[in-house]
Every structure is written in C-alpha cells, then in structure tokens.
C-alpha cells in the first residue's frame, strides 16, 4: 500500500476529534478511581460496557487503526494511531481490550496466523466480540517461560491438552486463550513447544480465581483436562512454538508503545497530565503534608521518575524502530517500569503515613490514604508480572551488553530429563 492512499494525518485527527465528541462517553471529572477490588457484578458490567465501546469504535470506523484493512482494520500508520491517542484524551475507552487482546495476542496472530485464522479472529476482536488472554505462565515454571509442562498430544487432526496455566488476568470473563504447550518432551525445552488458540469456556477447562494480597481477584489459574483443540487452531509450526513465543514476549514487553493498542496520552481536564505526581500531591494534601519538604521531595522524585520513564520508552522505541538496536533493548523499558512502579507505590505509602495502615473508612480522604497501604502490599507486582525484573536484567546484560550467559543446566538436555525442583 503506498502512503499516497492514506488519509493525511491532520485530516484524520479532525475527523477523529469530531467523531469522538459526538459518540464517545467522557471520563467523569476527577477520573475513575482505580480500585483494588470490585464486586463481580461491577466487573462484568464494566466488561460489557467495554465490549460496547469497542463495537462503537468499530462501527464508527476507528477500530484497529494499524490493523490491515482485509481483517477489518484501517490500515493506517503508527502516526495516525498516535494522533488518535492524543484525541482520545478525556474519553473513555475499552482498556480491557488493549492488553493482552490487541497485543500480544492479536499481534501474534497477525504475524504467525494463517489467512483463515486471521479472518476468523481479527475482525471479531476489533468488533468487541473476542477478549483474549495469554495461557503462558505455569505454576511451576516461574521465570522460565520455555519450561512449560502443559502437554499437547497429537490425536489425528486434533491435539489433546493437559496441564495448568496461571496469572491470566480475567480469564473468567474472557473468550479465547493463546496457549503455549509442550508437544515434544524428547528434545531440549525450546524445541518442543507449539502454540494453540482455544476457547476458554469449554468443558475440560476449569477457571479458578486467585485472591491477591490486596484483595484483587482478577488473576486466574486454569486447569486443562483433556482439552481437544483442532490442528487448524495451531499458530506457527509444530515444535516451533518458541519462534512464536519469542515475538509474543517482545510484543508483551513493548505493549506500552505498541501502535496496535489505544493508550490515551492524557485524561480528562489534564488531571493526570503530570503523571503519578499529580495524584501524589493530592495525597500529600489529604495527609496534611503538602508543606512538608520531605513530602515535596518525594513528589518531585516521582515526577522526575515518571518523565524519565516516558523519555526512556520513547528512546527505546525509536531506537528499535529505526533499526538502531535489537528488540532486546525493550528489556530496559521493562526494567524501568518495574522499578518505577515500585517506587511510586513506596512513595504513596510514605506520604500516607500511619493512615496507610490503619485507615478511617468513613471519609474519602481516609479511604484514599488507606488505599496506599493496600497498594503497598502488592508493590512488587509490576516487577514480577509479565516477566520479572531479574529476567530483564539478565536480558540486558546478556543480550544488550553481550556478557556471558548464565549457565543453564537444561540447555541441550531433553526436557523430560531436566530437574525442576521438589
């Protein structure tokens, strides 16, 4: 497709601006409070609303800006996506559809799927009909993603899957899973994997909710018992799943700068334009500490860190996009997000003081301060989920700086002979 056919960026911007103003609901003033816990009813209602919003975008001709036209997208450029994100500021959007549905799941299907597979799923995703989840991590594998033990055994034109997956956000309200499974136990671990697509709600898949220490029950664990998947739902070659997974993980690491996802650049009334610092300043005020120089120091630190994160992301994205470095550079962003999120959480906890741990619930201020304690309990979440910061540090040292790789005692060993602890 030549660029000559594309709608000029600024025309697109104005058209988007008009359409959004007429069609899209706005974020309520003050922004939506990020709650650690919602009731299941609230959650399901939100999911339904997001399906509606995604359908609204699709019907309005604004879904899948960088997705190919033949699969229901607009076939436009990342620059178009960027202006749409700018115009989206202040509007609600279907955030549950972004990660992992648009990326990495749809991104993987676009890269590795057959024409039929894309036709079957990409338009459905863009219409808001399919929410996808990653069936990737397993209870026993931790950082060693290639060490999956969920097995897929060939039976004629089908595969039969058995095993367990974990850390799937909201599997209980999602539709499809992208699943990494072991199809060969007699070769080293990276060479015996394959990727499958499967509906989540079917006999043979039991979805169990995990309670996190902040009360959140979004994460799930799935138990797969004799789940039958047709070979036509396999993405990529048999035993060649690591090739798919490598890109899958890249898409996951870079979700925050993916042109396939919406990520409005600011929210209503500029409330969050100053990043976490704005919220922390409000917090310090609530805690009666806005005049305390120590509190002001922490707020300034949070702001500097959030800008630093944004500028690093920009640099990493640009460098990779212009071919200046390998995909592995994205591990820098991953590490930064983990480190920064932990620091923001610690700063919030510090600012809230005693009210963070023994909170008065009869006023909003008390709840806000108390939320800092609850959030602090899961401070490490962003340094664990989506690959630990330890793995990111390994990748930076080995793949970016070229330092010697860690000894892997499973390298070159048939997977069935690898030791995996008690």
């Amino acid at each position: 497709m030549s660029t000559g056919e594309l709608e000029p960026i600024e025309d697109f911007r104005l058209r988007a601006r008009d359409w959004l103003r007429e069609n899209m609901p706005t974020v309520p003033a003050g922004g939506a409070r990020q709650m650690a816990t919602r009731s299941d009813e609230e959650e399901l209602a939100e999911v339904a609303e997001e399906r509606r919003l995604q359908r609204l975008l699709f019907d309005g001709g604004f879904a899948g800006i960088c997705f190919p036209k033949q699969y229901g997208g607009l076939g436009l450029t990342p620059a178009h996506a960027a202006v749409f994100n700018e115009e989206m500021a202040g509007y609600r959007y279907p955030w549950r559809f972004q990660v992992p549905t648009m990326t990495p799941c749809a991104a993987v299907i676009l890269e590795f799927g057959t024409h039929e597979q894309k036709l079957a799923h990409i338009p459905a995703i863009l219409r808001g009909d399919e929410l996808w989840m990653q069936f990737l991590s397993e209870p026993g594998s931790g950082s060693d993603l290639a060490g999956v033990r969920t097995s897929a055994v060939r039976q004629g034109d089908d595969w039969v899957l058995n095993g367990s997956k974990i850390w799937t956000t909201g599997a209980w309200w999602s539709d499809w899973g992208l699943c990494l499974a072991r199809t060969n136990w007699d070769v080293p671990k990276h060479r015996g994997l394959s990727v499958f697509m499967l509906p989540i709600h079917q006999a043979g898949i039991e979805v169990s909710r995990i309670e996190m220490i902040n009360g959140n029950r979004e994460f799930c664990q799935e138990y797969l018992t004799d789940v039958v998947v047709p070979d036509s739902a396999r993405v990529g070659g048999v035993d060649d799943g690591w090739t798919v997974a490598t890109r899958w993980l890249f898409y996951e690491r870079t979700f925050h700068s993916s042109p396939l996802t919406l990520h409005p650049t600011a929210t209503a009334g500029g409330q969050a334009a100053d990043g976490p610092a704005a919220g922390l300043m409000h917090l310090a005020e609530a805690a009666g500490r806005l005049d305390d120089p120590a509190a002001r120091d922490l707020i300034g630190e949070a702001h500097a860190l959030s800008v630093a994160m944004r500028e690093l992301d920009h640099r990493v994205h640009t460098t990779i996009a212009t071919g200046g470095a390998s995909d592995q550079l994205a591990s820098l962003s991953r590490l930064m997000h983990g480190v920064a999120a932990g620091r923001f959480s610690a700063i919030g906890f510090e600012l809230a003081g005693p009210d963070a741990v023994a909170a008065s619930l009869d006023d909003e201020t008390g709840q806000l301060l108390g939320d800092q304690g609850t959030s602090y309990l899961v401070r490490q979440l962003m340094s664990i989920a989506g690959g630990t910061t330890e793995m990111a540090r390994n990748a930076i040292a080995e793949r970016v700086l070229g330092m010697p790789r860690e000894t892997s005692l499973d390298r070159g060993v048939p997977f069935r002979d690898v030791r995996h602890g008690s």
Binding site: S137, P139, G142, S143, D144, G147, I166, W167, I210, E211, M212, I213, G215, F219, A287, G288, R289, A294, G342, F349, E350, G353, P354, D355, A356, V357, A358, A359, S360, L361, D362, L369, G370, G373, T374, Y376, L377, V378, R379, Q380, L381, S383, I384, A385, T388, T389, E390, R393, E406, T407, S408, L409, D410, R411, V413, V418, R419, H420, G421, S422
Partner: protein, 385 residues
C-alpha cells in the same frame, strides 16, 4: 532473636512458638480476618496463662517473668508473635499494665488483675490522627474540673481500641503532660473501628469529647508525665521492633527454603549469584535488626532514659526501613505466588508495613535522634564552660 539464650529462655521460646503454631497457624489467621477482635475468645486467656500479660508487672501486683528481666522475656514473646503474625493486644495491654504497675498506686491493683488474667484488654492512647505524628505531638487536652478532670481530644490509631475496657490517655495539662485512665464506658468516649492492613491486628480511632474522670484516674503527678510517657514509648517500641524482627525472620526463612527448592532453567534459585547477593544483604539487615532489638530491649529495661530513647529510635528507624524492604524482596524472590493471599509471606509483610508506619515513622525517629544528639552537644558544651 537474641543470641545466646539461656536454657530457661530457650524452653520458654519453644513453648511460645509451639503454642502459637497450634493456636494460630496461618490457616486460622486467614479465617480470623473478619473477626472483630482478630482472635478467638479463649486464645488471649491462654496466652495470659503463659505469661504474655504479666511480664512487666511487679510481683506484688501479681506479675513476674521467667528470667527476672520482664522486658527481655516479653521481647522474646513479641519476636514469636512477629514470626507467627499472631493476633492479640500484646503491645497495648503490656504497655498499660507496665505503667499501672509502676505508677498506678493501689487503685491499679484491680485493673491489673483483670489485665494479667487476660480477662480485660487495655489500650495505650498515644498517637493522634493526622496531621499529628505518632511521635508525641499531643493535642488532646485535660483540664481540672472540680475535684476531677475533663478530657477532650482524639487518639488514633489505638491498638485494639474497640476491644479495650480501659484507655491510658496522654494529654496536655497545665504545666505539662498528664496521663489519665479512662474506662471505655465513660460518657463522651466514641470508638470507631479502622481498617488495618494486618489480617488480625485491630485498630480504632477513639474520640474523647469532654469526658469526665475523677482525680484517682490520674497516673502519677499531673503535668509531670513526660518521663513516664517516654518510658512507655520506649517499651512500646521495643515490643514493636521485636515483632517486626520476628516477622522478618519468618519471611527470610521461608524464602531461603523456597530458593533451595525452586528450580529455574534446571538450577535452584539459590544458585543464582544475583539472588545470592540479595540474600546476603537481607541476612545483614536481619542480623542487624536482631542486634538492635536486643540493644533497645536492654536499654529500655535500664535506668538511662536517654540511652533508652536513643536505642529505641535507632532500632525503629533501621528496622522500620529494612523490615519492609526485606519482606518485599522476599515477595520478589517468590514471584507471583508471593503476592497471593494463599501464600504465608504476606503475613510478615503486613506486620512490618504496619510497624513501619505506626508509633513514629523511620524518618520521624531519625529526626528525633538528631534532636537528641543536638541536646547532648549543648549539654556537653554547657558542662565544658
């Protein structure tokens, strides 16, 4: 935990640990999260029989301890409480019982009996709500009224405030601080439960609105309670830091075991040098925390009030910072499983996070240390002249 325990002390620690393991294993703690008191009725009474409530009470008031060093023994119990994330008003009841026994006079005997027997709970009302700090900015006021006193002010967070029958309240009076014993049933007392991030520890806001008490409710000399209050603060801090060190101990133990058992890329986690070095740092923080608990305990039991204050604040500032860091790093080493309610690690994390923020943050204690050093400097200079 203190190094070099005597045989008696080891036996005592062993008994306490086994009792807590049996009475409040983590499965029971999970069930207690919605229990208003945080524990079953019989639990605290049995604990009292084991001596939890009477170690800071003199023998004439029915108290006593194994080794004769009550605070030392209590610190051992607090350490076990931290390891087990055990419920119960250990800190508040002991601090109040200690004060009653020391300066309560004859009228205290009855109250002490119920506290020591585990039949009543008392709360130490010291900290005040924001923007006041946990370190002694006292805004509550007590005024003489006839032969008695009238108390007004808000205390928060008050440990087990909703369960307590008796409050020991520090307030400002003419000439200085005054401490009053206020029954929970007194008119003008309003107790509001707070939400605690700990699973079983309970806190409340207690408001005193023109509460009238008789002159016999005053502990010690009105207007001259500062030294006594400081002593209570030091005891409270000792119990708090001992609990925190116990919680760190348990989290570290769990994580060392996990690192040995868990394999990644065919190797145990414990074989990865980047993790080993972090374990080394954690071990340093842990042993230093133990050492500081011992030092603060010894100092608080001694006669040098200045030294007691110094070591309590050193312990609190160090452990208050390193306890949470250690537990968070333990979570990180565990990965996702360490963030689940089903895993035991969060019991430690909650307890140290609580301890970090209450009775003065680490920063407040660092500032207190600098004030103390400055005062010493001035005194020295005055002496030199």
């Amino acid at each position: 935990m203190k190094s070099g325990l005597t045989a008696d002390e080891e036996l005592f620690v062993g008994t306490t640990r086994r009792f807590l393991q049996d009475a409040v294993p983590t499965s029971v703690l999970r069930e207690l999260r919605d229990a208003p008191e945080g524990y079953e009725p019989g639990y605290w009474k049995t604990g009292a029989e084991l001596g939890w409530t009477s170690m800071l009470v003199t023998e004439e008031h029915g108290g006593g301890s194994i080794s004769g060093n009550g605070l030392g023994d209590l610190a051992l119990v607090a350490h076990e409480f931290g390891r087990a994330a055990a419920p119960g008003p250990l800190l508040s009841t002991n601090v109040v019982a200690s004060a009653l026994s020391r300066v309560g006079g004859e009228s205290a005997t009855e109250a002490l009996g119920a506290l020591c027997a585990g039949e009543a709970v008392a709360s130490w009302c010291w900290s005040e709500p924001r923007p006041h700090s946990g370190l002694g900015d006292i805004a509550a006021v007590a005024e003489r009224s006839g032969t008695g006193w009238v108390l007004s002010g808000v205390k928060s967070p008050v440990e087990h405030g909703a369960q307590a029958g008796l409050f020991l309240v520090t307030a400002r009076a003419e000439g200085g601080l005054v401490q009053l014993l206020v029954p929970a049933t007194q008119e003008g007392v309003t107790v509001t439960q707070l939400r605690s991030i700990d699973v079983t520890r309970r806190f409340a806001r207690v408001a005193f609105d023109g509460v009238q008490v008789p002159a016999t409710a005053v502990l010690g000399e009105p207007g001259h309670a500062a030294a006594e209050a400081e002593r209570q603060l030091c005891e409270a801090l000792v119990i708090q830091v001992a609990e925190m060190a116990g919680a760190m101990d348990r989290a570290f133990e769990l994580t060392v075991a996990w690192a040995a058992d868990r394999y990644s890329f065919g190797r145990p986690l414990a074989s990865y040098q980047a993790l080993k070095h972090r374990f080394a740092d954690m071990k340093l923080w842990l042993e230093t925390s133990h050492a500081l608990v011992d030092a603060a305990t010894e100092a608080a039991a001694g006669d040098d009030a200045d030294r007691a204050t110094e070591l309590a604040s050193v312990a609190k500032s160090y452990i208050g910072d390193h306890g949470p860091e250690l537990c968070q790093d333990c979570v990180q080493m565990h990965g996702g499983i360490g963030l689940t309610f089903e895993h035991d690690l969060h019991f430690s994390l909650r307890r140290v996070a609580l301890g970090h923020a209450l009775i003065g943050t680490p920063r407040e204690h660092r500032l207190r240390l600098t004030n103390l050093l400055e005062r010493r400097n001035h005194e020295r200079k005055a002496t030199d002249l």
